[in-house]
Amino acid sequence: MTEPGPRLPPRLAEIVEDFASVEGKDKLALLLELSDELPDLPEGMEQADMEQVAECQTPLFLTVDVSNLSSVRLFFQAPPEAPTTRGFASILANGLDGESRETVLAVPEDFYSALGLADAVSPLRLRGLSAMLARVKKQLRAA
């Protein structure tokens, strides 16, 4: 049931498998680990240059570098007091950074349901993650 679809790129598929293989508190621990690993913005990039994702309960900023469409770069910024939002951003950053425009656009909108986080995090909170992916795709479509 939690088998990722064929179109998930390998690193994202691995993250989905990691989540699917643990339960309850361990899912939260995994999300916190990812939250801790969200990379800082590269030197010279400012929050002002990024798009705010209003669907997240706490401020999240993202931008997609589309200068090379066969390897797009994803950048996210969220404050430490929003670890869940950071964790979601980290799933996308770890899973999709460096993939091609087509590969990212092909990620199913509902891929997050396979993470099995609805019980641990609540369905409402999970919507922030789908909103983030939607914004990433929107920037890619415009590229």
Binding site: A29, L32, T58, A82, D119, V121, L124, R125, G128
Partner: protein, 297 residues
């Protein structure tokens, strides 16, 4: 045995000063017998990212709400939850959290539905604790499950349902604690929270607008009693001896105001309409007022 109250003079003017503790008091009393510190946040991972040493987490989404019905857990569910947190019926609970204690106040209100007697708020919440450079840890708090009795929830005194609110429009003062743009109907949700919107914008006719944050000082702690009285009694015209019903979007910000009116200003009967705008703004054929005026029925 309950833990002694915080003798802090800053709290002495409030109606129930024993409902608040300061960060300094909490730091001194960590580890006291009979005291359990509870963190309750909007962000489900914030506790795990670092919490007050020895505290436990209570999450509103996954633990206080029933998983199926839009309601709170029942008596057995609450007893199981309290037991799993090491809380007994006579435990002194101190709650703190993010967002100026919204969720902490919400948890405190839910604990009150079950008649847990000694439950207090940390003035200023997580932000104040952190701003003072006090310790936060990721250490897992060891919990010895307690024996908490099954006590059925009593909603009658401090919780209002939609029908009651509708019946009492024009008879009981209503207080809308959302942001001004949500009150007028310009927005159906808080800025940054569109996913919890409603089909209609505006407010319940006759409701006075007093955004919850007006109760907080700049550092996130509660304002003094005189300042609070000037806002809620002077401006909004509430009277401590009369009934009042507060609401917001899902009942969390109005729990904060419920705490202010009940425990800081000593109102006799305050109810929180937790269905709030996500229920009212989606309900069929209920009256709604838009714009800055309270409106009439």
């Amino acid at each position: 045995m309950p833990v002694d109250a915080d003798p802090n003079q800053d709290f002495s003017a409030y109606a129930h000063p024993d409902r608040l503790v300061s960060t300094a008091w909490l730091a001194e009393h960590l580890g006291d017998d009979g005291l359990v510190v509870v963190e309750s946040d909007e962000d489900v991972l914030l506790y795990d990212s670092g919490h007050v040493p020895g505290s436990v987490k209570v999450d509103w989404h996954t633990e206080l709400n029933d998983a199926v019905t839009r309601d709170y857990v029942d008596g057995a569910g609450f007893a199981a939850l309290m037991s799993s947190k090491g809380i007994s019926r006579d435990t002194t609970i101190v709650v703190y959290g993010d967002k100026s204690n919204w969720w902490a106040a919400y948890a405190l209100w839910v604990f009150t539905l079950f008649g847990h007697e000694d439950v207090r708020l940390l003035d200023g919440g997580r932000t104040a604790w952190q701003a003072e450079g006090r310790e936060l840890t990721r250490d897992v708090t060891p919990v010895t499950p307690s024996d908490y009795p099954v006590v059925e929830r009593d909603d009658s005194a401090i919780r209002a349902y939609k029908d009651e609110v509708q019946d009492r429009i024009g008879k009981v003062p209503l207080i809308d604690v959302r942001s001004p743009a949500e009150y007028t109907g310009e927005r159906t949700h808080m800025p940054d929270y569109p996913e919890e919107g409603a089909l209609r914008g505006g407010h319940i006719p006759t409701a006075a607008s007093v955004p919850w944050a007006r109760a907080a000082a700049e550092d996130g702690r509660f304002k003094g009693r005189d300042e609070l009285a000037a806002i809620y009694h002077g401006e909004a015209g509430l009277v401590p001896e009369e009934d009042v019903i507060a609401y917001c979007r899902i009942g969390e910000r109005s729990s904060h105001t419920w705490f202010v009116l009940t425990h800081l200003l000593g109102h006799r009967s305050v109810k929180n309409y937790d269905g709030s705008w996500t229920e009212w703004g989606n309900a069929v054929r209920v009256p709604i007022a838009t714009g800055t005026e309270p409106g009439t029925l």
